[in-house]
Amino acid sequence: MRSRGAAVWARIILIVAGLGVAGFLYAFPLYWLVATSLKSKAELYQSITLFPQHPTLNSYASVLFDRGFWVLLKNSVLVCAATVLVTLAVGLVITYPITRLSVPPQLRVGVLNWALSLRFLPPVAVVVPYFAIVRTLQIYNQPIALIGIYSLFNLPFAIWMLKGFLAEIPIELEEAALVDGANRWTSFRRVLLPLATPGLLAAATIVFTFAWSEFLFALILTATPQSQTFPVGVQGLVTQFEIIWNDMAASGVIAMSVPLVLMVIARKYMVAGLTFGVIREK
């Protein structure tokens, strides 16, 4: 009996310690980021303190207005939104036939395989030839260059995710509509789309998040704040030369908050998102 009690205690301690340590290791860096962003510049010159002495939102104002990052924010939103539209539209056009119409299995498998393989492409390997394309088309420093490549990289994910959702909508519903006299387009618009909307929204959210976080192509293909996205701005602040860590932290917080909010909304599909729908809840 005594050993039983000890074992239970040991378990509880292990659990609390494990989760506690993990919790701390995850919470502290994020706390530190926010805390640093609330410090004033003068405070940065003194020795480090764990709590901001006089918390202020100055660094956020400095980042967004003095440094003009609100333009970058706007660019990021536009580029990501456009990417979502393109990706979902093209994704639907590709996914609909292979899930709702009878196609040879080889084609369906081929498309899905090809889509999945793009997930493993290192962006830096693609940037080398893509820059040549951008140069030739003269779209350097234009948002469209980013929208194009982001759509390309997110399309495989969209195909997989949409396939998963569309496959779950019973084919009978569409058949019923067709039998009732509707044509394909109407049945698509009135029957399938409404049912697929949750899936579309989830995919849209995840694509937006992926596009939002993208850094390498934005770094290479943009030259002025007119087309730079927010992550490029964040990187520009990470300089060892000046003591602007509060601004740096503020930009990090802003960069983080958009995907954070979106992901809480689409959290059910997170694992599916990261594995391109290969692993998902059914």
């Binding site: 010159y45 536009l78 456009a82 990417t83 539209l85 393109v86 539209a89 093209v90 056009v93 820059f131 951008v134 140069r135 003269q138 779209i139 350097y140 420093n141 234009q142 948002p143 469209i144 929208i147 194009g148 009732d180 006299g181 509707a182 044509n183 394909r184 387009w185 109407t186 770094l219 290479i220 030259a223 002025t224 704040p225 007119q226 087309s227 990187q235 520009g236 990470v238 300089t239 060892q240 030369f241 000046e242 003591i243």
Partner: protein
């Protein structure tokens, strides 16, 4: 329900897809500015740090005088080089002006990426500005080895200095008098080294920082990266002696973690009274060491040209930041006007007041400015001594990376000076050979 034919369905699908894909194009088009006849805005690609601080402060004056807004787009040092070459390769018109570190001139000159200031916009040599300033902005270079592919090209002026950076030396004058040569530097380092007070600060971070920091020492000892015919000299005995001096002898009295120290850390150590002496760039002086809001040692630091080495010469290094006009710019003459404005004496005085580093001898030798800018005298002397510049090769990026990485390893103690220089020498020989330089 209306039945549409298959053809109609396909057509609608195609139209919808096309509509979706053209939305981004429309968005992009909205972002482009409409072409204007009169120039209202110039875009400068600049380096982030204290070098472009004064520039950012004076562009407001330009706008109030001429109505032209000058937008300063900043990038960290290495990124700026990448960004400029990428933009030039794309022949893009995004930048009307660009700040260039003078070692980048060879690459840009070889690429033909800049508009010639003398033939296109009538720039001529002003006697108040040191000759070496014009020389450093000229391509092909007026003296020193010329890359084989550039020999025979007509010389043109492609950039003018707006940050008169010449590397100098700083030391705590409240503790001792000026060191006459590097041996005295070493003796002083030993003498004043104490806990929490470094006898010498090494700016040892890999590639550009440690390269800039060590080249004056290399030269003062008679070493070099290349000789006049582009043959690598890094593994000569003079070069290795110089590297040994820095990474072994001076290192004993240097700060821990020197291999991660960049300029900001170095000047901060000086400014907070933790260091005795080091090399220094004027930008760090105005920005940190003499900035009353940051510095605890204002008035206690003196500035001199680089001390002599065994070669008998103290060779300072140019690190001018020049302003040039990319070929792709559509506002060339407006950009040239801005450069001319920056060079005017009264504007340069204002620029100095904002912390800028001038290039006019009249300003550097102006006694009334000496107390506010204690380094002017040393800078004027450095210009007059004709400082050295980094090798004028378009392969400088790769060369500096090899040299800077090897030096960093030597500072960190991972390689002996000899091993480091031999490694760098062999890597650089490979690079230069592949680029068709004589070897």
């Amino acid at each position: 329900m209306q039945r549409i034919s298959r053809r109609e369905f396909v057509k609608r699908t195609a139209v919808t897809s096309a509509a979706f894909t053209s939305i981004p194009a429309l968005l992009a088009a909205c972002g482009e500015s409409t072409g204007a006849n009169k120039v209202s805005k110039l875009v400068v690609a600049a380096v982030q740090g204290n070098e472009d601080g004064p520039l950012k402060k004076v562009v407001g004056n330009y706008k109030s005088q001429t109505g032209i807004e000058v937008q300063v787009v900043e990038f960290p040092y290495a990124d700026l080089f990448t960004k400029l070459v990428t933009t030039f390769t794309a022949n893009d018109s995004s930048y009307d002006l660009c700040m260039m570190d003078d070692p980048w001139m060879p690459k840009f000159g070889t690429m033909g990426a800049l508009q010639p200031l003398d033939s296109n916009f009538g720039f001529t040599r002003d006697s108040d500005i040191p000759t070496v300033v014009y020389d450093v902005g000229t391509w092909p270079p007026p003296h020193g080895p010329v890359p084989p592919t550039e020999q025979g090209k007509a010389q043109h002026l492609y950039g003018i200095t707006i940050v008169g950076n010449v590397e100098m030396f700083m030391y705590r004058s409240d503790k001792s008098s000026a060191p006459a040569d590097w041996n005295e530097v070493l003796a002083n380092a030993k003498k004043y080294n104490a806990a929490n007070f470094y006898g010498y600060v090494i700016r040892g971070k890999a590639t550009n920082p440690v390269s800039s920091d060590s080249l004056p020492i290399l030269w003062s000892f008679g070493g070099n990266i290349f000789d006049d015919t582009w043959k690598v000299q890094l593994d000569s005995s003079d070069s290795i002696t110089a590297v040994d001096f820095l990474t072994r002898k001076l290192k004993q009295y240097a700060e821990p973690g020197a291999e991660s120290y960049d300029a900001a850390e170095r000047s901060q150590a000086m400014a907070t009274g933790k260091a005795y002496q080091s090399t220094v760039w004027p930008g760090e002086i105005t920005g940190i060491v003499e900035d009353p809001s940051v510095s605890q040692v204002k008035g206690k630091v003196a500035y001199i040209p680089i001390p002599q080495g065994p070669s008998g010469k103290g060779l300072g290094m140019m690190g001018n930041w020049l302003l040039g006009i990319p070929k792709g710019s559509k506002n060339g003459s407006a950009a040239a006007d801005f450069i001319k404005w920056m060079l005017k004496t009264e504007n340069m005085r204002n620029y100095v007041a904002q912390g800028g580093i001038p290039i006019r001898n009249s300003i550097l030798n102006d006694a009334s400015l000496a107390s506010a800018n204690p380094y002017f005298k040393a800078l004027a002397a450095s210009f007059a001594a004709v400082p050295n510049w980094r090798p004028r090769t378009d392969q400088w990026g790769a060369v500096e990376t090899s040299y800077g990485t090897a030096m960093n390893a030597a500072v960190a103690g991972q390689l002996t000076p000899q091993a480091a220089m031999q490694k760098a020498a062999s890597e650089i020989r490979t690079v230069m050979k592949a680029a068709n330089y004589p070897s």
